[in-house]
Every structure is written in structure tokens, then in C-alpha cells.
Amino acid sequence: MEIALWMAVAFGFYMAWSIGANDAANAMGTSVGSKAVTFKEAVVIAAVFEFLGALLAGGGVADTMRKGIVDPMIFQDPAFFPAGNGHEYFVWGMMAALISAALWIHIAAFLGWPVSTTHSIVGAIAGFGVVSVGVENVEWFKLGTIALSWVTSPIIGGIMAYFVFTIIRKFILDAEDPNRGIRLWAPALSSPAFTTLFLILFFKGLKGRHADLLALGFDDTMMFIASVVLGILASVVLGFFLRKITIAPDATSEVRHAVVERVFRYLQVITACFVAFAHGSNDVANSIGPLAAIVTTIENSKIATASVIPMWVLVLGAVGIVIGLATYGYRVIETIGTKITEITPTRGFAAEFGAAATILIGSKLGIPLSTTHTVVGAVIGVGFARGMNALNLRIIVDILKSWIYTIPFTAVLTVILYSLFTAIFI
């Protein structure tokens, strides 16, 4: 099983690299596009917050990936594996899934398809389930829930972004009194944004520390209250900084809008950090989830019901993402920065806030969703609020196509690799 361990490490790292190279840029796109951050700042923010997100919060979703679609306990069942070596089949199956998903992401990058890393691994694991323990032992209902989230998460992200932008327009861009719009409404509106960000931090970022927090009497309700309080506090601090902003009553609309956009540029930097953080935490699980499953199974020679993801696995995933970003992802960010010129900070803020809030809801429910597609949904939501000058909706067709191709490809490739591996190694 030594070779399995090394293969798992190599392909887990390869998958993390792919995520960093191809996907991490999507978290930063709207910020670079609106010139809220420069290209270099975007790379630094992405590197730091993707890493922190993966390291601090990556553990949560990995669990669902592993146990949700196929019950690993079946592999301990003598009825399925009379020789009692079910855990070996499990290891090679997860290996096949990991390799298939990583390969597919790489191929899709060549073809320019916007596939989701989450969908790739989910499709691969479903394929593994079908070939190893049969169609009837794949949790199709759970798979359906996940698949449904691919549709609902962009829609929820879109609806949130729609309302955020509508409110910004009504109370700030079109305020009767422009000074009150900026000094009062900008902090007031960012209060729920800050609260959401603190909620992400508490419920995802500090997930690994929940036991310690609980020991101090800090339960979910307390975390919620703390997030709200901190959100309000952050808004008060923001209000303090904005109190001196003055727009002359007779200022032209161009001047007014320029001041508003300047304020939102700062707000957008904050939301950009959290989107990168949320992406890191959400998507690193796609590579380290299977890796952790393989590693703990090999170490224990049996499948554990629940086990802590080893720290070195998390670090491997986090480092992989950052290296992917450093070796290739930065070029994607650079391209985005030069290509998107039609987004302003108010729009970027609305879209990122919608996306970040949706990812929080998804992670709270334990449903792996596609960060990438949620961002797309949020941007289109702002478009429906008449906030975008032009959107090319052909991307929706591309996304639908990539859904149709991703699942069969990764599933079938997993079946092939699984048959190959079990023939060679078992």
C-alpha cells in the first residue's frame, strides 16, 4: 500500500494545483475587473486568503464528499467483500476518482470549459460507487441534493446580488442627500456584509476550534450574536472613516458617482478577501477530501467512520493551491484584469457579497456547491438589476454543457481506472 500512499499524495497535490491554477482566479475576477485591487494585490490576496481558507476551514466540506454519496462502511461489509479487503478497494476507488477529476479539470482547462472542480470529484465518486458496490448503494438522493445546489446556488447568489445592488442604487447612487447616502447608508448597508463575513469566519474558518469554543461556553447562538455585534462594530468603524467624505450639493453626477465608487472600492477589497477565503475552504476539500480518505484508511488498515483530516494533508492542499496560483493562476488573473473593463466597484461589491453569502449558506448546510458558478449567478443577478452594461449569456450554455460532459467523463474514467487498479494491485 506504500505506492498507493505516494500516488494519492501526488495526485492530491496535482488536483490542488489545478484548482489554484484554474479556479482561484474566479474569486478575484470582479475585484481586478473593477480596479478595486491591482493585479499584484489580487495575486497576493488570492494567495494569502486561499491558503488561509484551505488551511483553517478546508476540513468541513471534505466530510460530506467522503461519506455523502457512498457509505464507506459498505466496504467493511463481508457481504460485499468476503475477503475482508474492502478497504483496499476503497483506497483504489478513491484514487481512481481523484485522478479522473484532476485529469478532467486539466483537460477542461485546455478546452476552455468552465467546469467546476466540485462537480468533477462528485461525478468521479459516483462512478466509483456504481462500479464497486453497485447502483443501488449510491446515495442518489444525496447526489440529487448536491446536483440541485448547482442550480440553486447561482440563483440564490443572483437574487442576493440583485437586492444588494438595488439597495445601493436607491440609497446611495440616487440618494436625495448624497452626503447622507455615503456617510450613513454605506456603513449601514455594509453591516450585513460584515456580519456575513464574520459568520463565515466563525462557522467555517474556526470550525476546527468549535470544540474549544464550546468548552468556553461559546455555542452556535453565541457565535451568531458575536457575528452580528462585530458586523455592527465594523460598520461603526467604517462610518467613522467615512464621516469626512463630502460631496458638494451642486456636484455633477459624474463627481458623485466617482466618490461613491471610491468608497466601494475599499469595501470590495474586504469582500474579495472573503470570497478568496471561502473559495479556498470550499474547493480545497475536492483535492484533500479523497486524499485524506486514502491516507487514514491506509494508516488504520480499515475505514474509519469519522477521522480528523491530518494537518499535513490540509497543508499539502493549501500549498498546492498557492503554487497553482503562483505558477499559472496569476496569468489568468492578469488576463481577466485586462479583459474586464465594464465593472464598477458598486457592482463588484454587490456580486461578491451575493456570492460570499451563498457560499456561507451552502457550507452551513454541508452542501458542496460550485464557487465559480455562484459567482456567475451573482454577476447575472446584478445584471438583472440593470447594473451591468452588457453580459454575454452564452456562458450559461457553456456551463450547462460542462455539466453534461463533466459527470459522465469523470464517472466513466473512474470506472476504467478502478478496474485497472484493482486488477493490478489487488
Binding site: 453626477s253 489568468v332 447594473g387 451591468m388 452588457a390 454575454n392 449569456l393
Partner: protein, 225 residues
């Protein structure tokens, strides 16, 4: 490795090119009073040169229009109805087309000025030019209207500019009708061919204002809720 990004989602804003087109159309129309001045001065060589110049600028406007249309496939999602946008585009184009036609009509045959028509003709041109300039100014407001999301005070400002556009066009209309009456009052002194072309010239000049107003009414639909 091809860049895989979801941000092909963002298409180029069509409003900035639309403003550029309006500027180009205005530049084209600005040559019309220059042409008439040359005509009143009796410099027909210059008239032909300016007519050619108008035609040249009109062609540049056509290129801008074609490029803008090419960038608006059906999959493009705009904050305004795509058909309304294309209507504004074609109305702007029609203004420049009329300016070009005025120039061409002058080159069909050498026209002779009639004392009775000069003053009202100058008045008509002044009013039509004011209408066209106001139309272009209204299009230029689109930048801030889009920034404000096509609602609120910016949208109201544009609506009141469109109302003003309608008023300017109406004034130009009155002068045009008066001019036509004056033309036919002296029809006996004018050769039939000349009479025909003068009538067409007046119509084309008046149509510049008509298309400007039509563009305004299409623009109105951008901010209608």
C-alpha cells in the same frame, strides 16, 4: 494552456460606442451649415468639396454602427431592451444619412439661391442643428444614466432632455412648413427641376430633426419602467 475563465461573461459596454457614434453623427451634421454657407457665398466648388466631406464622415459613422451591431448578438444581455437599443442606433444613423443626402442633392445640379428663401432657410438650419446637437447631448448623458442603473434622478434628467428634444423638433417643423410655403409661392420663378430638388433638400434637412426626435423617443424606452 488556454485561459479558462468564467469572465467571458463580461461583454463590452455598448453605451460608450453609442456615445462615440452620436459624436460622429453630430460631427457629420456640423458640416451641413458649412455647406449652406458656402452655397450662399456662391462658392460651388467648395459646396462639392463639403458634400464629399459629409459623405466621408457618414461612412465613418456607418463603420462605427456596423461594429456596434456586430458586438450585439442575441446572447448579449443588456440593461435595456436590445431592440430599443438597435432602434436608437438606426435612428442616429438615419440623421447622418439625411445630412449626406442634403450634400448629394446639392451636387446633382448647380442650384441657384433665391433671395426670398435665404433668411428662412438659415433659420431652419439653425433650428435643425440645435435639435441634432441636443440629441447628441442626450445620448452622452447615457454614461451617468447607466452608472445610476437607469433609474432615479439621472433617468429623470434624461427624460426632461428628451422632452426638450421634442420641443426643438416641433420648432424646426414650423419653420420647415413655412419654408415650403414660401418656396411654392415663388414656384413660377424657379425651374421645375430646381423646384423639385429644393423641396427635397428642405425635406432632408427637416428629416434630420425628425430622426433626432425619433431617436429621443426610442431612448425614452431605456428608462421606462
Amino acid at each position: 494552456m488556454m485561459v479558462r475563465s468564467i469572465f467571458t461573461l463580461f461583454a463590452k459596454s455598448p453605451f460608450i460606442p453609442l456615445i462615440q457614434l452620436a459624436d460622429k453623427v453630430e460631427e457629420c451634421c456640423d458640416q451641413v451649415p458649412v455647406l449652406f454657407d458656402a452655397f450662399f457665398d456662391g462658392n460651388y466648388e467648395s459646396v462639392r468639396g463639403i458634400a464629399e466631406q459629409i459623405s466621408h464622415i457618414e461612412h465613418e459613422a456607418d463603420v462605427l454602427k456596423a461594429r456596434l451591431r456586430d458586438e450585439l448578438p442575441r446572447t448579449i444581455f443588456l440593461p435595456v431592451d436590445r431592440r430599443d437599443f438597435l432602434d436608437v442606433l438606426s435612428a442616429l444613423d438615419a440623421i447622418a444619412d439625411c445630412a449626406e443626402d442634403v450634400g448629394i442633392l446639392f451636387t446633382l445640379r448647380e442650384m441657384e439661391p433665391h433671395e426670398e428663401l435665404i433668411a428662412p432657410l438659415k433659420s431652419l438650419i439653425r433650428r435643425v442643428m440645435a435639435t441634432v446637437a441636443h440629441a447628441a447631448a442626450t445620448v452622452r448623458v447615457l454614461g451617468t444614466v447607466a452608472e445610476a442603473g437607469f433609474e432615479g434622478r439621472e433617468a429623470k434628467r434624461m427624460l426632461s432632455m428628451i422632452d426638450e428634444l421634442g420641443r426643438l423638433e416641433h420648432e424646426a417643423d414650423l419653420v420647415q412648413d413655412d419654408l415650403a410655403r414660401r418656396l411654392f409661392a415663388i414656384e413660377d420663378q424657379i425651374k421645375p427641376g430646381s423646384l423639385y430638388i429644393w423641396n427635397k433638400i428642405f425635406n432632408k434637412v427637416g428629416d434630420m430633426a425628425n430622426h433626432a426626435e425619433r431617436m429621443g423617443n426610442r431612448l425614452r424606452l431605456f428608462v421606462a419602467v
